[in-house]
Amino acid sequence: MTDENKEENKDKEIKSDSKLLVKNKDVVVPGQILAEGFDFLPSYGTYRKDDKILANKLGLVTMEGKVIKTIPMAGRYLPKRNDVIIGRVTDIGMNAWRLDINSAYTAMLSSREVGGDRGYSSYPKKGSLSKTFHVGDYIFCKIVKVNSQNLTDVTTNDRGLRKLQGGRVLYVNTHKVPRIIGKKGSMVNMIKQATDCKMMVGQNGIVWIQCDPKHESTAVEAIRKIENESHIPGLTNRVKEFLEKQTGKKLDIKEDDEEIRGK
């Protein structure tokens, strides 16, 4: 018996006892009943009340066997360790920069966390941090620590982490970032290939692009298109056709789009 058949049988067994009231990839709103009976398990974005499973967030339903969860469609970014993000310097202290990271919380970039990869022999000197990063600079950085109060520490001591010079910055929905990146970066690579852009995508929903003025608007439009249409199947093909039409280039990309999370 193949795996698919097994899956089908499993579904039948479940249906005989309990009732599933939504389809996969449906949009659900808080308080909506997703399933009745005890054969399903609630996961992220859902909760159990008596014999029912209800949604507690706006999101898209995804079934993983018996487990029902939702992928959020709106909401603020919540800092997570090891996320690579883009932050804007809002304040300079004696030993650290404060970054706005498009979240409910700000992040701290200590001067100890700057240097290394940038080729500095020593850390930026205390009291003269503005020589390295100034207020308003955008910095590509990585979260090293988030505590229980969501106080966030970031670092630029890693490969590719740096200050972003030139280019332009877009703010997108945080929860669409996995779709903008695509499977193993397929979507980003496609846009890069089509428009010859430099592009950095932060997990916090800040996207930095730098490219030829000729193709800049195409890249922006493509990103907005992904953001708006990510819950409709066939996204990769649509974006590919859009980019081909706009730039006149032939793109060679594999077609796999059925995974909704991308990452």
């Binding site: 308080g31 709106a74 603020r76």
Partner: protein
Amino acid sequence: MVYKKRLDGRKMNETREIEAKAGVIKKADGSAYFKIGKTWAYAAVYGPRELYPRFLQNSNKGIIRFSYIMMPFSGMGERVRPGPNRRSKEISMVSQKALNSVVDLVDFPNTVVDVVVELPQTDAGSRCAGICAASIALADAGVPMKDMVAAVAAGVVDNTVCLDLSYEEEQYPDYAKEKLDSEHVADIPVACIPSTGEITLLQMDGIMNKDQLIDAINLAKEKCKEIVEIQRNAIHEKYKYKINKKSMDWKKELGE
């Protein structure tokens, strides 16, 4: 005289016409309008975001700040003076408490979710419209909440229990041109969580007896279950619209 037929021809358990839409304010994280008859409420939700001054922060969970604002030109008679007044402060407080029990902000300690409700025109039942709009906007903003809150007013006009009083009905003694006591009209706004039937807001204006009170609350509770469907539909509609419109645009672009 007994109140048998309502002034605007509605049934006793019928609300005014309801219209709701999500995502109407571009710059807000979540937004909605909720129109019930001539009462319009626009709600915008901002956050979760940092809360200052720091002494207001709660390190266990985020808090909600609600502000109810009647626009200067919104009233039936004279201009409403802008800015907070005794009435709007009270309504903001009770509305905040009505929403507090559904919203779950344990993931966002030290933050605030700002809910701003503005009413460009009011007839009656404005706090109920405000709560309905606010709960659509909160859901639209992706705030975790166990259910949406629906609210509607029920009341007694001349010993008859009826739902969702209009301004004329609240002023019934004047309309009847008879010398009736003001006690002949009573009004109770009810907000409830439809999935559990719990009541999160209950106020009363006027006097009614016990049976009438029970009738009125039951009437309102039942209607809340219908109103919450309208609220949910408003959000579903937002995403449906996007699918149709955008995908059609895309087809047009390709000349299909």
